[in-house]
Symmetry: C2
Subunit: 642 residues, 2 copies
Amino acid sequence: MAVSELKRTLIGKPFPTSQEIHERLDKVRALAVFASDPISSNAYATEAIMSVLIVLGSGALSLTLPLAMGVALLVLMVVFSYIQTILHYPDGGGAYTVAKDNLGKYPSLLAGAALLIDYVLTVSVSVAAGVRAVTSAIPAAYSHRVLIALLAIALITWVNLRGVRESGTVFALPTYAFVTGVLLTIAIGLLRYAGLFGLAPLPTFAESVPATNSIMGVAYVWLLLRAFAGGCTALTGIEAISNGVKAFKAPEAKNAALTMVAMGVIAMSLFVGITFLSTRMHLVPTEHGESILSQMTRQIAGSGILYYWVQTFTALILFLAANTGYQDFPRLSSFLANDGFLPRWMQNRGDRLVFSSGIVVLAIISALIVILFQADEIAMLPLYALGVMLSFTLSQSGMARLMGKIGKLQVGESAETANTKIHYEKNWRWKQALNIVGAITTGVVFIILMATKFVDGAWIVVLAIPLFVLLFDRINKHYKMVGQTLSTNQFVEDDLVDVANVVIVPVADIHRGTLRALQYAKRIASDVRAVCIATTPTIHQRIEARWAEFPKLTADVKLVIIDYDYRDILTPLVDYVETVNHDEFPNRLITVVIPEFVATDRIYDVLHNQTANLMRRRLRVEHENVIVIDVPYHIPSAKQDV
Amino acid sequence: MAVSELKRTLIGKPFPTSQEIHERLDKVRALAVFASDPISSNAYATEAIMSVLIVLGSGALSLTLPLAMGVALLVLMVVFSYIQTILHYPDGGGAYTVAKDNLGKYPSLLAGAALLIDYVLTVSVSVAAGVRAVTSAIPAAYSHRVLIALLAIALITWVNLRGVRESGTVFALPTYAFVTGVLLTIAIGLLRYAGLFGLAPLPTFAESVPATNSIMGVAYVWLLLRAFAGGCTALTGIEAISNGVKAFKAPEAKNAALTMVAMGVIAMSLFVGITFLSTRMHLVPTEHGESILSQMTRQIAGSGILYYWVQTFTALILFLAANTGYQDFPRLSSFLANDGFLPRWMQNRGDRLVFSSGIVVLAIISALIVILFQADEIAMLPLYALGVMLSFTLSQSGMARLMGKIGKLQVGESAETANTKIHYEKNWRWKQALNIVGAITTGVVFIILMATKFVDGAWIVVLAIPLFVLLFDRINKHYKMVGQTLSTNQFVEDDLVDVANVVIVPVADIHRGTLRALQYAKRIASDVRAVCIATTPTIHQRIEARWAEFPKLTADVKLVIIDYDYRDILTPLVDYVETVNHDEFPNRLITVVIPEFVATDRIYDVLHNQTANLMRRRLRVEHENVIVIDVPYHIPSAKQDV
């Protein structure tokens, strides 16, 4: 088949299950793999703060730096709190696992829903921001940004469906190149700012409009909170390492914790550096067009090699950040599917050992968001970071609970929770206190995010999270019902419903297809009944005459002709089947054999089997004790020889 | 079921086939039924000419009248030519039938395609024009015109799905009210124009901009042809009577012919009257907004009762004209379906004895056109009338052929064609000459329409007509192939493929569903094989252990466990079935029993049977000798009791 060949070409040949490799990452490569998302936030986080403050006049942009410092502090707190998680869940402890282990079903579903939504947004936001990096350098491409973004998503999807095998190395280059480029720019900028080495002093742009005094009091605080909320997008992706502890070389937990620290330090250095310089240079975010990072780099380093270096690797690291969504979303959805909260097929690995269904679902949803928001990441940001902040809160509350359990242990004692082992720890109170502070802080930030961004789009997420939880719950209840219904616990082999020795064959006309069906029916039962609904006397006579032409096949078959004065032949057919099942063979399985045309060209299917399809559907859903057998009769393609 | 109850409420209870009534119409009601389409064209035909001429300056609008006279002449010629058709095809002789009878398959398909397209446009154009009549009177409704048009289509569709039983009476009122209202307006207008009875002379509007001399020669002629083409929309619907001769009271053909004459005279009186007065009053078509007829009526009769009378019945007659599309399209498509050129289900009458499928198809396509053209009938006009003109040409060519056949008869001799009886006629040469002139004239007009409106949208129709013919042809070839394949002509009862005594049951797990399937399989064959694809050693062992738990049911069943190192379990399953079919039982039918979950809530189906569905589809299309049996196992709704 053409489709499967195309699939082979695009995706590559299947990998055997036994070939699954568990690549271990050293710290250098691990940092590159996991940090691309938080580090790449620097491409837009400063701008997200500024675009709120600009309402107060460009003079108010000087408030960007203190707000950025606040965000950086929050990041460091989350990082150190997550280190506890890593050390206590060495098998991988995402917010979903930690909440499930310590807080119960609904908090874990809440965390799962919040994170899934955020992972989708990671893809949409990162791709859109990556495209902005491209269009900042090449303004002519701006009008094609949605198309470029969709192509980027298609490319990332394709790479992930093929399965990324040597991801570490691929990731290392753009991540470190981006960090180096931006750090170099910041360094030159700081030197020029300080007037050292005889470098030209920094240019200052955009006449500062002093902060308007018209906005005061509550409204002023509200705007500051909104700006802070904007900066919180820098926190997304921090939790990724805690999910992937097992990907590290031994000692896994320790290496993961060290990598986490490095990630936090690097990401925040860039964030504070960019914010400091861009506010000192009085850069102003533009409605559509050049990003703050692009403006800053251009002014500091000119439009030379360094500028294009930074822009190129900004775009690349953002596309890589989108790629982390492709790691996180399918993994988390496979966890949820495994626990029966999402369709079971989401836990199946595809031909290339990746969670193909999760990848495809993610690609579709994130592409829709990109189209809906016209690839404008600034417009998407109000939806973003909300989920991740909720998951922080839940994960840290869970950790605080875990510390409580640890505190109850005797010195040297060990215990097991559902998902991890715990041992007595001397300083559990301090750790618990840190987690409680972390939970409260991120909880407050979550409320700030929700409140300040609510009307800008956060309401969508606030609405979507409980809807997802409801969906998970429904799916779970259904699977439980399936399990109960199918369970063989109280099953006695004689319980099974008997099969009645009767087959009903609906016939509209006598032709090779129906004769074949009759022959099959005679093979499996001795009481065979051909049922024909005659809507006109002509049809009645015709069927009787045709029937007589095949004495051998129709021998021992009862011909039931039902005269019917309406055109809806389905109703009397189903009625007949019901009567036979309920009156003649109650509590037994009866069989209906439907002759069916199969067109070799699928497109011709619309010309056939309308009644057969409707009948099969009705019997299937309404009558458990009716077995439907399709006897196919193939119609060759007309093109060949007519 | 909720759906079927809703259907009952909306559509009403089914009518028995025997209750089909053949209502006969007297001439007064028949005129109302058949003439609403051509008479209603007066709501836009004058405007269609003017909107082209306006390019030459408003002074050029005085050319509207001569062009309208040309159109009126054309109409009268077509009317008299069609009277011949009516007299020779008393059983109904639409262009499709006449072309089929005299010109052969492809000309008839051409006529069928052209007419079907035109009937769809009749609905879209008439509804849009009806909405314009509403918004001319109530300008505030203009911004909701697409919605109003869609509601009108929905209403007409609903009425037609219920089946219009007393259509004649319903149609009579608006048609005659419209004719009376407009004739009254014209009469008053003419009296005021002539200055009789002391009435105020007619106002003259819009300073005449003299015809620009910049457009000369070929371009000038081209514009005149375009304007004439615009006026030809008045010809649509004329052919309707020829299709419906059988709806008349006896003597059918004579009554139909007389009605046709009356229709032509009335429609053309209105057309010429409206055109004469509106050009004398120097009315100018406006880009969006008030129609010419509305302007004229308002100026002649003031904004009083007569104005609202005319506007109301303009809207109503236009909606009724749309309704004629609902008579013509389903009838013609049922003819085509009956001849095997459209899906057979299009010839089935629904619960209320109407061609429901045709009605629904028509509603969908015309609604799409209304949306696409934003309910602007002037924009749709370039697509309109093209099909009807082609069908005139074909129908009259066919009639000329028929006259040739008649000419070959001896005095008093009779003969039969496929669709009608012919007798010797003395003056056949004159009639044939009339038909030839008619065919040539309408053929030339068709070319003019096509050429002048090509870039404005006619290309769509020019492209669509042959595509439809191709589609009809393809469908017909397919049905022929079906007929050949199923034919029992050379059928010998022993030819049928033997049924092998083997059943394959794919199992993924042992539960009540699979046990039921096994039990059924054992009932219909003695060689039963349960096939399990084990993708991991754990699954392999588990299945073996579970199997041993049910010794009674699994007795005499062979358990085939296939270890497979990939995740795509469909491939080894299908491979196994293929091997059994080709190697063990070549040229025999083998049976596959698939255990299937049926969720009582259909929405949960997405959680089940993905593999079963794929497998059924593959076996069904690729393997004619494999019979697939679904053994359903019902999963109750989770809401009830979990």
